[in-house]
């Protein structure tokens, strides 16, 4: 018994030891880890959606800001065309870039309107629609100089980016097409020559919102061109007009058959052309790391200083896929940081249907921010640049979220329309599906544009008085900003799908003082990549010389600063494309002055 008793005690001990041993690993197991997360800045709260209207929204008490002066100009005779009215195919829906630039150097910004095309024209069965160049004669008189200039394009046009690639002092145009794109060299005598084939930039495929920029600092502009969708006109996707066709079942919007894409269609990669010393270009997309091997649906792009290390970075806005942010490493290559930077997705981690791109420092903190337009039933998005390549989606905090949800946005630009020293925001809208007008979906094919006033970093929609320009609805696509009449108030031109364009004259009753800056750098001569910092009192504004962005369009590269009530500029600092900095004394305001790298100023 004693033995058994001892054995029993030993057995208990043994069991205890075994239990302890078995527990040992558990005791040494690390604490329950926190869920793995990626780093970055915080994001905002979700919103409740209420507004669903995209046309006919007026406010009798709102001020008149823009006057539609289209009918008083030669632009009234321009008609954009892009495929048939049914919009059976995706390539019929996004055409319509516009550029404002002074092609002849007379000090007045001119207007270039792209046109689309038709299947019949592409097959040689009818005359193709033509792009048009309008020479600004002053006092809202424009002359159609397309034939003389030789820039009719006559291809299915989408985008235009301006850059003086050969540094001859005459701005050139890269025109993106479905098919073969063109590089119109400005001959300096009112004519242009397409040199795309000769210089090896005749990109094939569906090219969209291009951008010029000297990414490698050799003084010569390089060219980035996003690709959208691979389209074979001889092998088209299903379309909603085919009775019983595949599109009837599969390509639908709210249960209604519509044109297919971009999802379900193969995307295109992007192309970076590096300019060589002999003036020709080479495709360095893969080597530079910007070829877009995932073949996202590229729509807009811009070379811009994101991290302010004096190397031009690159942002690419893609439709229905993540946006890409490429940081320039300074060795001819880029690092794509869309996800970790916060720019790839919205605050809820969703991919959006990115269309247009506005670049500007809306909160005057010295860093460029991005506003990007999206599809209907989704908000546009505003990314605040927090520094260190971190961005925060501040769409709803800044008042831009809820109001934009029913709209399908295209061109967008920061524009200080009231010259108060804070960048306001303009957005052009229009749906891609004509079918929306046949249903009570709270959206429409033609849509009003949106103007937001920036009030200390928050945005308030500017109402549209009945009968005013902003009360109208257009099937808008591209747009461009520039002071067309030289009165110190920024005007706009909108290219509308299958319609005449819209010329909006800024007639805001009260605006502040202003200063226009035309920058001339050593190289690239048109100063793309320059940054101007202007200080009045406690406000320090920043503006960048940018090629492209908006949506397939080009704003006038003359920088425009609103000075509010300030009657003098306290400091004007220019960072030139080569990274050098100059400080200029500004003796006068309320006019545009030309600053040349090396210290020259011309009023």
């Amino acid at each position: 018994m004693k033995i058994f008793s001892a054995q029993r005690r030993l057995g208990v001990c043994l069991a205890t030891i075994l239990l302890s041993v078995s527990l040992l690993p558990a005791q040494t197991t690390p604490k329950k880890p926190e869920p793995q997360q990626t780093g970055g800045a915080s994001t905002g709260a979700p919103a409740t959606y209420t507004s669903r209207r995209t046309a006919g929204i007026t406010d009798p008490n709102a001020p008149v800001v823009f006057e539609d002066v289209t009918s008083k100009t030669a632009l009234a005779s321009f008609r954009h065309r892009s495929g048939g009215a049914a919009k059976d195919y995706i390539f019929e829906t996004p055409s319509g870039g516009v550029a404002i630039f002074d092609y002849d150097g007379d000090g007045r910004p001119d207007i270039y309107l792209l046109n689309g095309s038709t299947m019949a024209a592409m097959q040689g069965k009818e005359k193709p629609p033509r792009a048009a160049l309008y020479h600004n004669l002053g006092n809202w008189k424009f002359e159609d100089v397309t034939d003389k200039a030789g820039v009719a394009n006559e291809r299915w046009g989408f985008g235009v980016a301006v850059g003086d690639y050969d540094n001859d002092g005459h701005p050139d145009m890269y025109v993106t097409n479905l098919g073969v794109s063109r590089l119109y060299h400005n001959n300096g005598n009112g004519t242009f020559t397409d040199v795309a084939e000769k210089l090896h930039v005749a990109r094939r495929g569906w090219s969209t919102g291009a951008s010029w920029g000297d990414y490698d600092g050799d003084g010569r502009l390089d060219l980035f061109v996003p690709g959208y969708v691979q389209i074979d006109l001889n092998k088209l996707p299903p379309n909603p007009s085919e009775p019983g066709g595949a599109s009837q079942n599969f390509c639908q919007f709210r249960g209604v058959p519509v044109m297919c894409g971009p999802r379900g269609l193969p995307g295109e990669g992007d192309t970076l052309y590096h300019q060589k010393p002999d003036g020709t270009f080479e495709d360095v997309s893969v080597k530079a790391g910007v070829s877009d091997p995932e073949k996202y649906y590229g729509f807009s792009s811009a070379f811009v200083h994101v991290d302010d290390d004096k190397l031009l970075d690159l942002i690419v806005v893609n439709d229905s896929t993540p946006k890409q942010l490429y940081i320039n490493k300074g060795n001819g290559t880029f690092e794509e940081i869309g996800y970790p930077s916060g720019v790839a997705l919205n605050e809820n981690g969703r991919e959006q249907a990115g269309m247009g791109l506005a670049v500007g420092d809306y909160d005057n903190d010295g860093r460029v921010d991005f506003h990007i337009t999206n599809f209907s039933d989704d908000s546009n998005v505003l990314y605040h640049n927090d520094g260190d390549t971190n961005f925060t989606d501040v769409t709803f905090q800044t008042g831009l979220g809820e109001v934009s949800i029913p709209f399908l946005g295209w061109g967008t630009s920061f524009i200080d329309y009231d010259n108060d020293g804070w960048l306001d925001l303009f957005v052009v809208n229009g749906h891609v599906y004509p079918q929306v007008d046949a249903h009570q979906w709270g959206t429409s094919y033609a849509q009003q544009a949106l103007l937001f006033r920036n009030v200390n970093g928050k945005f308030e929609r500017v109402g549209a008085p009945p009968g005013s320009a902003l009360a109208n609805a257009w099937p808008g696509r591209g747009m461009a900003v520039g002071d067309l009449d030289g009165d110190g108030r920024l005007d706009l031109v909108i290219n509308n799908l299958d319609d005449k364009p819209t010329v909006l004259r800024n007639v805001a009753a009260w605006t502040g003082h202003w200063l226009g800056l035309h920058l001339v750098a050593k190289a690239p001569r048109d100063a793309i990549g320059s940054i101007a910092y202007l200080t009045t009192g406690k406000v320090r504004q920043r503006q960048d010389v940018v090629s492209g962005a908006v949506f397939c369009s080009q704003n006038d590269m003359t920088l425009h600063f609103g000075l509010d009530a300030a009657t003098k500029v306290d400091k004007l600092e220019i960072q030139w494309p080569d990274g050098s900095t100059e400080v200029f004394a500004v003796p006068t305001i309320d006019k545009t002055i030309t600053l040349t790298q090396g210290g020259q100023m011309k009023q």
């Binding site: 033995i3 001892a6 054995q7 030993l10 001990c13 043994l14 030891i17 075994l18 041993v21 040992l24 690993p25 558990a26 040494t28 197991t29 690390p30 329950k32 880890p33 869920p35 793995q36 997360q37 990626t38 780093g39 970055g40 800045a41 915080s42 994001t43 079942n249 599969f250 390509c251 639908q252 709210r254 249960g255 297919c260 894409g261 999802r263 379900g264 995932e294 993540p322 996800y339 970790p340 916060g342 997705l345 605050e347 809820n348 981690g349 969703r350 991919e351």
Partner: protein, 177 residues
């Protein structure tokens, strides 16, 4: 001391020594098992994620950028968004991607056997598992993670020995049985 007691004491001493020597090894083994529990990335991920998935009459390509997989106790759970553009609107309203498990699991506490399924996160805060004929198999409530700093369209994270499957900020917890 009687002989049986002596033997027992010696055996006990030997066992204690052996146990003391074995404990770190055992601990390492368990730790080793646990470190194999992880969210897969890179080549490990692409090796297990199908490039397309059959559901309701057709196969759709996987959005590889929005695919995720985790290995737990030598078993795999795999999920991926697919390009649903080829489906009719009513299917697209429910079906976002595929969900594969090679072990019996629970999702939000609900059991799910081994299999390949469709799934969707719905706007009413539910995670739905569908069979390949688009019949609902399971539906559980999701949790919103407001603290998530960089949400993605679809991703997995480890939560102890469980897996969180996220769509944006919404997630469900997956546990291998």
């Amino acid at each position: 001391m009687k002989r049986p007691q002596k033997i027992l004491i010696i055996a006990l001493a030997l066992f204690i020594v052996a146990a003391a020597m074995a404990a770190p090894v055992l601990g390492q083994n368990v730790a080793a098992v646990q470190t194999t529990d992880k969210v897969l990335a890179g080549a490990e991920l692409t090796r297990v994620v199908p490039t397309s998935f059959y559901f309701q009459g057709q196969a759709a390509p996987t959005q590889m950028r929005n695919a995720a997989a985790a290995r737990v106790a030598s078993h795999f759970v795999i999920a991926g968004l697919v390009d649903t553009s080829g489906y009719s609107a009513d299917i697209r309203a429910q079906y976002q991607g595929f969900f594969i498990t090679d072990s019996a699991i629970t999702i939000g506490g609900e059991s799910l056997p081994v299999g390949a399924y469709g799934f969707g996160f719905s706007n009413d805060g539910k995670f739905n598992i569908l069979d390949l004929a688009n019949h609902q198999v399971l539906s559980v409530a999701t949790t919103n993670d407001k603290s998530l700093k960089r949400p993605r369209p679809l991703m997995m994270t480890m939560d102890g020995r469980n897996v969180r499957l996220y769509a944006g900020r919404e997630y469900v917890v997956i546990a291998v049985k």
